[in-house]
Amino acid sequence: MQIYLPIAELSVNVFLLLGMGGGVGVLSGLFGVGGGFLMTPLLMFIGIPPAVAVATEANQIVASSVSGVLAHWRRGNVDFKMGIVLLAGGVVGSSFGVWLFTLLRGIGQIDLVIKLSYVVFLTIIGGLMLSESIRAVLRRRKQTPTKRHHHYWIHGLPLKMRFRKSRLYISALLPLAVGFIVGVLSAIMGVGGGFIMVPAMIYLLGMPTVVVVGTSLFQIIFVTANVTVLQAVSNQTVDVVLALLLLAAGVIGAQIGARFGSRLQGEHLRGLLAVLVLTVCAKLTYDLVATPEDIYSLTELEGHS
């Protein structure tokens, strides 16, 4: 059954979209990731224009983050103060990101930049996860205690702030910068940015793991909401029909995934996710490097009426 997407302006099989939404939902429930970094490339693979894929995925992430954050909030695992500081950076970063996106779209380079960003970040994240999970599996029994608080030059920065929930006393510049960078990526790549935010919070800010996911989700809601509105206003590329189909299947998939996830071992899960990430990455890299079928192309209309 085909459905005509009013903003993407093409017709796509409904069951394909529901399958993708459900499939990515299962993975996100299984691995505890947002899934935007898988869904956006998948949408591009099936022929949705990259600009529509990125903007629509931001809209979908609002839904999945809201449903995720409620569970963490009930358990008291959200550091709102930290979330708001991250968010301040995130709003500025994502606004800048959308501006950059519009500019790149005008000069015909947006597809390249989206794909290159994916290749770079998926390679780094996938590589790190794979090597860590291999190492973890190899020395399962040898447990080495790790130090929580390292002292780097970053701890000498001004504007120190106390974050009670995270039991931290650090410069506000740090979360502001993290928020900004993730915000830019969120706008350009159509992701929540959890896969960068979470490691940054643990390793860079030194936040306790318990509050990391909840706080990350909390700020992702508002950053992706900002991206959605800005994309809607400056590019008119948010397709609500597409977003609704994906999120309806996605929330159900996420619940199924979460139930399966508790039965699998952490290291194996991470290894599987890493393989998946690297596969998507390999396909994107191939697209960029392989000689295209036609080196001439029609780009989307600029200032499309």
Binding site: M1, Q2, I3, Y4, P6, I7, E9, L10, S11, N59, Q60, V62, A63, S64, S65, V66, S67, G68, L70, A71, G108, Q109, D111, L112, L116, I221, A225, T228, V229, L230, Q231, A232, V233, Q236, V238, V240, V241, A243, L244, L247, A248, V251, Q255, L288, V289, T291, P292, D294, I295, Y296, S297, L298, T299, L301, E302, S305
Partner: protein, 256 residues
């Protein structure tokens, strides 16, 4: 397919009746050399839209061959060429073409070269080779423009928006003809111009222009209009819908 065929035959019979009455009353009037109509003046894009077929039919008063040209709403189109930089293919050169038809198809009752002179083809822009596609900037290298022009046509053909081959006009008897115009799912909305030419002895005897519209209808149209006219409200609403859906999912699965 059968119901569609049946209505087509119904329309044709009706057209035949009207046309023969008209011809009987005023024979050989120059303006009535050619009578043309469509099975529907509007193609509606709705939720299940996967493309559409439109039947064009008409009557010619005497002998002759028929050529049909369909042109979609024109807009500027930018063609870009990729080049390999450090192993990666990057868009580099580009040429923007002025007022490019977003859809283009032709049909005739026998191969064009058998009955139309190249001049007629060129003058009336019949066939993609005769289609006038001009670069917006003047003074560009002609060979480059030609390459980009070919690429433009090729890309449009790949998207199914420009026909690769001349379609078939079928004559039923000597005077009544019909052809089917096929629109793909990615067809642009707007006003379409259909020109029908009657050619006899290598000369253009008569032509008729018919207009038709491709429009989004119902829900699709509302969403698109809302997104473009009130983009801020659309964005805010999109977030609210998503937030509601997220909250709903969390509430439902918490209980389950």
């Amino acid at each position: 397919m059968t119901p569609r065929k049946r209505t087509a035959i119904g329309i044709l019979t009706a057209a035949w009746a009207i046309a023969s009455a008209a011809l009987g009353a005023a024979p050989a009037a120059a303006a009535d050399d050619l009578v043309v109509d469509l099975s529907a003046p509007v193609v509606a894009i709705t939720t299940g839209f996967t493309g559409a077929d439109l039947l064009l039919f008409g009557v010619v008063s005497g002998a002759g061959d028929v050529v049909v040209v369909v042109r979609g709403p024109a807009r500027d189109e930018t063609v870009r060429r990729k080049q390999r930089i450090a192993g990666v293919w990057v868009n580099l050169d580009r040429i923007t073409f002025d007022q490019v038809p977003s859809f283009y198809a032709t049909a005739s009752n026998r191969p064009l070269t058998e009955f139309v002179t190249p001049e007629i083809l060129l003058d009336n822009q019949i066939g993609v080779r005769s289609l006038e596609l001009k670069a917006k900037l003047k003074g560009l290298d002609a060979i480059e423009v030609a390459r980009f022009r070919d690429a433009l046509v090729r890309n449009m053909q790949r998207q199914g928006l420009y026909a690769r081959e001349t379609g078939k006009v079928t004559f039923l008897g000597n005077r009544l003809f019909r052809t089917t115009i096929t629109f793909p799912a990615n067809v642009a909305t707007g006003s379409y111009v259909i020109d029908v030419y009657l050619v006899r002895d290598n000369k253009l005897i008569s032509w008729k222009t018919t207009l038709m519209t491709v429009r989004k209808f119902g829900f699709e149209a509302s969403v698109f209009d809302f997104a473009h006219r009130h983009s801020l409200a659309y964005g805010v609403l999109a977030i609210l819908i998503a937030a509601m859906a997220g909250w709903l999912a969390s509430a439902v699965f918490r209980r389950a």
